[in-house]
């Protein structure tokens, strides 16, 4: 259960190599074991240059997509996980765990403690999940609070020292690199006994617990016979517990109002010490009924020092917060669009912002627009072939707004206008972006009674609802559906 090497590579399309190795670390003692375990099927870890090239090729990140290349494009080369075999110098290096996020490719090679031919199933290789966790940990560290390139560079330069703490020999000790950073900084503090490994120090000061509930709502609305609209709420509860003592015990409860939508698919932070079986089994996979567990959802825990995601959940609310309908028709040279949006009366009509993005893909720039709107303003991004309908902070009293008009496009020029493989012909969508503060769609809340801790102090609690992937499709054309939409 160890890693042979780890890399961070920045993806730089348009440059000769299309990328640069920003960081790499090899673990020679693990490599020595790999050589023994893998036997004749052993393939050594390559130097950075060849690795970079092979990885970018495999991930299709080189700019030479033009021609059919069998070793990449053949229909039988099917990859169904983020774990690859890289052809390097005629040999295949496997398994390479790799994924691209924010233009950085995270990659590592876990040790497989047996021969590689035949390949063992991934599920039986312990280093694979560790490799993922390692890379996610690095990703969290690089992007937590990072705002610009120079901060990223600073963090990258800290990595060698951090990995000396968090992964000195290739076996990951802590995926939370922030802990290692604190460890380095506070090495002189003598730690008391039975200190959890995930808590690097103790808090001194006024006790304070902050809880933040963020719900994202996504939706697919079709307004079509035979296809059901779908929507789902995904909640994240983030906590920061500033409490004295080595292992303070805290219980945080999430509550629902009487008609609230039950929380489902709950995943908790490892610091939660026990879990009610009702929480464990409440799942969106089952058909909903009235007997669904509706809280309170109690989470006894021993909090770490830093802010952490106490739990994630999903929920199926009875109606989408905004019901939309979108029609788009091609009329000779122009498109005629009609849009109606209706805010549900139960939803708090007080947005931080609310806007509808209406993109037109696979067409030229917008040359002419005539429109009429009952509410809000329309911004036109001609070159990007995009309309943004700014609805603002509130829907009008009627809760219903509309926009209609015609759009004309110029000739296509491939560089500027966006290509989309789905929005072909009249297939089109509009996407809602909104945020409502101090509100959750499920009704989920926490209050000062929700936090039981052997210390006084009022918890700080905030809530918000954000849209995410909120699509309303043109009802006059085919649209991509999920299997769930067909289950009426």
């Amino acid at each position: 259960m160890a890693q042979r090497a780890v890399w961070l590579i920045s993806h730089e399309p348009g440059t000769p190599l299309c990328g640069t190795v920003r960081f790499s670390r090899r673990y020679p003692t693990v490599e020595k074991r790999a050589r023994v375990f893998n036997g004749a099927s052993y393939v050594p870890i390559p130097e950075d240059g060849p690795f970079l090239k092979a990885l970018l090729f495999e991930l299709r990140l080189l700019d030479d997509d033009k021609d059919f290349v069998e070793s990449r494009d053949s229909c039988s080369r099917i990859n169904k996980t983020s774990i690859y075999g890289l052809l390097i110098g005629g040999e295949e290096l496997w398994p390479v765990v790799a994924f691209l996020k924010n233009d950085i490719i995270y990659a590592c090679v876990p040790l497989v403690e047996q021969t590689l031919s035949p390949r063992p199933p991934l599920i039986s290789v312990s280093g694979v999940s560790q490799g993922f966790e390692f890379l996610f940990g690095i990703q969290d560290f690089l992007y937590s609070g990072q705002k610009n390139d120079s901060e990223l560079n600073t963090k990258l330069s800290q990595l060698p020292d951090l990995l000396l703490q968090a992964c000195p020999f290739g076996t990951l000790l802590d995926a939370n690199l922030k802990n290692s950073l604190d460890n380095t900084n506070f090495a002189s503090v003598t730690q008391p006994q039975k200190q959890p490994a995930w808590k690097t120090g103790t808090y001194k000061g006024k006790p304070q617990v902050s809880i933040s509930i963020t719900e994202k709502v996504k939706s697919m609305q079709y307004d079509k016979q035979g296809i059901a609209d779908t929507w789902q709420v995904v909640g994240t509860v983030t906590c920061k517990c500033d409490l004295e003592g080595i292992m303070p015990n805290v219980t945080i409860s999430l509550n629902l109002p009487t008609n609230g939508s039950p929380l489902q698919d709950i995943l908790v932070h490892p610091c939660v010490t026990s879990l009610d079986s009702a929480i464990l089994t409440s799942s969106s996979i089952d058909a909903m009924d009235d007997s669904a567990f509706s809280g309170p959802y109690k989470f006894p825990l021993t909090p770490p020092l830093e802010s952490f995601n106490l739990c994630y959940y999903t929920s199926q609310v009875p109606v989408p917060p905004i019901l939309g309908f979108y029609q788009l028709k091609e009329e000779e040279v122009q498109l005629r669009i009609t849009i109606n949006l209706k805010l549900h009366e139960s939803v708090k009509n007080n947005f931080e912002f609310c806007e509808a993005h209406i993109p037109f893909y696979n067409r030229g720039p917008i040359t002419h627009l005539e429109y009429k709107t009952s509410f809000g303003q329309l911004e036109v991004f001609r070159e990007k072939s995009l309309l943004i309908w700014i609805i603002g902070q509130k829907f009008p009293k009627s809760m219903e707004i509309s926009l209609s008009g015609t759009v004309t496009f110029g000739a296509k020029s491939h560089e500027k206008q966006p290509f989309d493989p789905i929005c072909i012909g009249e297939t089109a969508y509009l996407k809602l972006h909104f945020r409502i503060l101090d509100y959750t769609l499920t009704g989920c809340y926490a209050d000062q009674h929700s936090v039981q801790v052997f210390a006084s102090g009022k918890p700080k609690i905030n809530r918000k609802l954000i849209s995410s992937d909120y699509y309303i499709w043109n009802s006059k054309a085919p649209a991509p559906v999920t299997y769930g939409s067909l289950l009426l």
Binding site: F37, E70, S76, L164, W198
Partner: protein, 878 residues
């Protein structure tokens, strides 16, 4: 060289990291390891620079110190540097310990004879135990971190040399119970415990007092290497892959091994101690602990897996990949013993929801999806090692895991696989159920094809479409309700976007003939039913070269004739010729002759004309099978990466005689003695079917007249062949060696030439009888011959040894046809005619028990020694 400055080192390290192999091959490479060790003690360098030097040694010890002795020297030097550090806090102690450990472990120097090992191990154990090492060796502020580091170093050494810490189990356990840092000690103890269990059970020993003995093994004395040596230094998988573990020797012997109640109790207590404090470990470390303990206790008597149960609920609730993965490992290790059917169902549900939970990142989804399809079921039904949907994962659970066009390619393919598995199971279910997975699959494939058909679409869209189609054909082979629409959908895709021809060709290469043949037919129709003059002509030709065969000849030829006029550049002409070639191979002749003649005249490019002419000549002169071979894939690897060279080499290979290993064997059978000439009877035997075999013989030394070749139309292995008769015309009566060559055609149509092992014609093979004298005149006839030999000839007496069968047996076996006068069992007169015109006469009389004196006469001196040898060898030849 004196100590380098900080900048010089920074530059040097940068150059090294850019390409270690290039740097080591350069002028500075050799000294790097030595300089690094030296400069660690330099007072001019900052600690930060020294840490970066140590960091390099942690990554590249094999480059810096390439052999065992260099590694030993390096580790010694690093330890010296550590000891020499002034007694104040320093950032170097940790990396120095890590570097010394790495140098020893990676350099292969770790062992009882290594001085550095014998210094490092007690030092590490002392640090791990938090003992006072004296002389202010460890400043108080560093004690705790160094204790953890020492544990990590020991763990790495134990990983590389299992059994190293077998003697320290009790000590480690004691430390864990007291004030020691929980995580490093837990992981170290778990690993050492696991390795000890495996090693002890292999040699049939118990744990003894290892778990309770709290005295450090060294106690000032030498380190105890016995357990390491018992394990032969073999590495132990810490978390063995499942199938491997099933067969693993260590696991089996672990099962067989019984511990005393005392040992079992101590072991259980140690495991419970580890598990009870496991929540203090980071999630990744908890996962390691579970893998280690799970596989350590698997099959161990007296250790109920229920020990793990209290941890499971807590673990099942988390979103941590490593923790859920570790639970799956426990599931695989213990199966029903730890997970009831209900537990199994719950685990599957958690896995199913984790595989689609919007809060988790996509790579995690994909891994969980893989885990679902490889789920270690309590009672698996399908074949092992193949991805399949677990029995409890019904359509209801899968609902959220099905693909849609909005997924990225990897998620789409992974989910598509699941959908295919559902469709395969759904086969018998009643129709009319909405939405049927199969219908959904069809819609999805249609959507993928629509995307692939987009003019400006990136190649990745086409690739994923073909990958999906391939996956479907693999999973749902034999289901015409799926394959028929797929074939027509693909044909339609080709019609819209012929530039995907390369993908189609690849697809045809990969799929089974069940799909390939009908798809070829519709694709050929797609191509030939259209006028061949648009910009897609090059793709059509590429496609046609793949799908053209003997069927629909006239349509294909018409298309080509029409296309020929538009093939104005070299590329297109080559494409056209490739189709002609494919037709030639398929055995099309009629209209093709005309087309090739036209092409040989009309093509603008001389190379194209030459090729057309060549094909025409081949078509006109070669029989079908031969043509097929000539145009088949080249046998010789092309010397140049040029299609023309490759093609020509292919012709050369196919049209010329190949030197080949002999596929036919010849053996000499019993010789016949009829007729005027000696005849060699040969028994041929073929190793593969061969045709038109011609055997050519050459007599060495021209002892016989030249031999005629022998022809055999066909030889098959296992089918008895008639013996071949080879008449010999000796020029003198002497044995000879025949050189044999074979020329034949293989079943693939190649003509081969092979040199066979030589055949030997023995002296006796030349024997012919004299014509029989009239009845009763035998003695007179013999005496006449006997007398005629002298005086020109020669006379001799030879002792012919007899075997147990006596004289009668000898004569009947060897000389029967040549006996002129016989008075069994005592006297035989033998007359042998040796072509061309010699005679050999033998009188065998007055046999004794072990031999018979033979009087012999011949009219040819040269025969005498041959006859002597022959007679002396007769007894042995029986």
């Amino acid at each position: 060289m004196g100590p380098l400055s900080r900048d010089a080192w920074a530059q040097r390290l940068g150059a090294f990291r850019a390409s270690p192999s290039a740097f080591m091959a350069g002028p500075e490479g050799e000294d790097l390891g030595r300089d690094l060790l030296g400069d660690l003690r330099s007072e001019n360098l900052s600690e930060q620079t020294k840490v970066s030097l140590l960091a390099l040694s942690l990554e590249y010890p094999a480059q810096l110190w390439p052999d065992v002795s260099a590694a030993e020297v390096a580790a010694t030097s690093l330890l010296d540097t550590l000891v020499l550090l002034p007694p104040r806090p320093s950032a170097l102690r940790r990396p120095l310990l890590l570097a010394a450990t790495t140098a020893l472990a990676a350099g292969g120097a770790l062992g009882p004879t290594s001085g550095a090992s014998c210094r490092l191990l007690p030092l590490l154990l002392g640090l791990a135990a938090g003992s006072d090492l004296g002389r202010g060796f460890v400043p108080a502020s560093e004690q705790r971190p160094l204790q953890a580091t020492a544990c990590e170093c020991l763990r790495e050494l134990e990983s590389c040399k299992p059994g190293l810490l077998g003697g320290s189990l009790g000590l480690l356990r004691g430390l864990l119970g007291q004030e020691g840092p929980v995580q490093p000690l837990s992981l170290l103890l778990a690993l050492a415990l696991r390795n000890t269990l495996v090693l002890q059970s292999r040699v049939g020993a118990g744990l003894g007092g290892l778990l309770t003995d709290k005295v450090p093994p060294t106690g000032g004395g030498p380190w105890d290497w016995t357990l390491v040596e018992e394990g032969d230094g073999r590495l132990q998988p810490q978390a063995p892959s499942w199938p491997a573990a099933e067969e693993g020797e260590g696991e089996r012997s672990l099962t067989a091994r019984e511990h005393s109640p005392e040992e079992a109790r101590e072991l259980r207590a140690a495991v419970i101690q580890l598990l009870d404090t496991s929540y203090l470990l980071t999630p990744v470390a908890q996962a390691q602990l579970l893998w280690l303990l799970g596989w350590a206790l698997r099959g161990l008597q007296g250790q109920p897996p229920a020990l793990f149960k209290p941890q499971l609920v807590r673990l099942l609730g988390t979103a941590q990949l490593t923790l859920l993965h570790a639970v799956l490992a426990l599931k695989a290790a213990f199966g029903e013993a730890l997970f009831t059917a209900q537990d199994e169902a719950l685990l599957l549900r958690r896995l199913t929801l984790a595989a689609q939970h919007p809060a988790l990142p996509p790579p995690t989804h994909l891994f969980y999806l893989h885990c679902l399809l490889s789920f270690p079921e309590n009672w698996p039904l399908g074949p092992e090692g193949e991805e399949a949907a677990p029995l409890l994962l019904g359509p209801q659970l899968c609902r959220g895991l099905l693909p849609s066009l909005l997924h990225d390619p990897m998620a789409l393919l992974a989910r598509l696989h699941l959908l295919c598995l559902l469709c395969a199971e759904d086969e018998e279910e009643e129709k009319g159920q909405l939405p049927s997975p199969r219908h959904y699959l069809e819609e999805l494939l249609a959507g993928l094809r629509q995307r692939a058909a987009l003019d400006e679409g990136p190649r990745a869209l086409a690739t994923v479409c073909f990958q999906a189609s391939y996956l479907v054909t693999r999973c749902l082979a034999g289901q015409p309700t799926v394959l028929t629409p797929l074939i027509h959908g693909l044909a339609q895709l080709y019609r819209v976007r012929p530039m995907l021809a390369s993908h189609f060709v690849d697809f045809l290469d990969q799929v089974d003939s069940e799909l390939r043949e009908p798809l070829k037919v519709v694709l050929r129709q797609e191509v030939v039913s259209r006028p061949g003059r648009d910009e897609a002509l090059c793709w059509h030709l590429k496609m046609l070269a793949k799908v053209a065969d003997g069927d629909a000849q006239s349509a294909t030829l018409n298309f080509l004739q029409a296309a020929a006029a538009h093939c104005t550049n070299w590329d297109l002409q080559q494409g056209l010729l490739r189709v002609c070639r494919a037709l030639l191979r398929a055995g099309v002749r009629g209209g093709l002759v005309d087309l090739l003649q036209v092409l040989a005249r009309q093509l603008e490019d001389p190379d194209g004309r030459d090729h057309a002419r060549l094909y025409y000549i081949l078509l006109a002169h070669l029989a079908g099978p031969k043509l097929g071979v000539a145009l088949g894939p080249s046998l010789a690897p092309p010397a140049l990466a040029s299609s023309l060279v490759a093609e020509n080499q292919g012709f050369v290979a196919a049209l010329m005689v190949q030197e080949a290993p002999a596929l036919v064997r010849l053996s000499v059978g019993s010789h016949g003695v009829k007729g005027p000439l000696p005849v060699l009877k040969l028994q041929p035997e073929a190793l593969e079917p061969i045709y038109s075999l011609e055997l050519r013989f050459r007599v060495e030394g021209q002892l016989y007249a030249p031999l005629e070749a022998v022809h055999v139309p066909c030889l098959c292995p296992g089918r008895p062949a008639r013996p071949l008769l080879l008449p010999l015309q000796p020029r003198c009566p002497a044995p000879a060696r025949l050189d044999v060559h074979a020329l034949y055609t293989t079943s693939t149509g190649l003509t081969c030439h092979a040199h066979l092992p030589p055949l030997f014609v023995n002296f006796a093979d030349l024997f012919l009888p004299f014509p029989k004298p009239p009845g009763g005149a035998g003695l007179g006839f013999f005496e006449e011959l006997w007398d005629s030999c002298l005086p020109e000839g020669a006379e001799s007496r030879v002792w012919c040894p007899l075997g147990p069968q006596g004289l009668e047996g000898l004569v009947s076996h060897h000389l029967e046809p040549f006996v002129v006068v016989a008075q069994p069992p005592t006297s035989y007169y033998v007359a042998i005619h040796l072509p061309p015109n010699s005679k050999l006469l033998l009188r065998l009389e007055a046999a004794l028990a072990d031999g018979v004196p033979v009087a012999l006469r011949t009219d040819d001196w040269a025969v005498l020694p041959l006859a002597g040898d022959y007679l002396r060898g007769l007894a042995a030849a029986l």
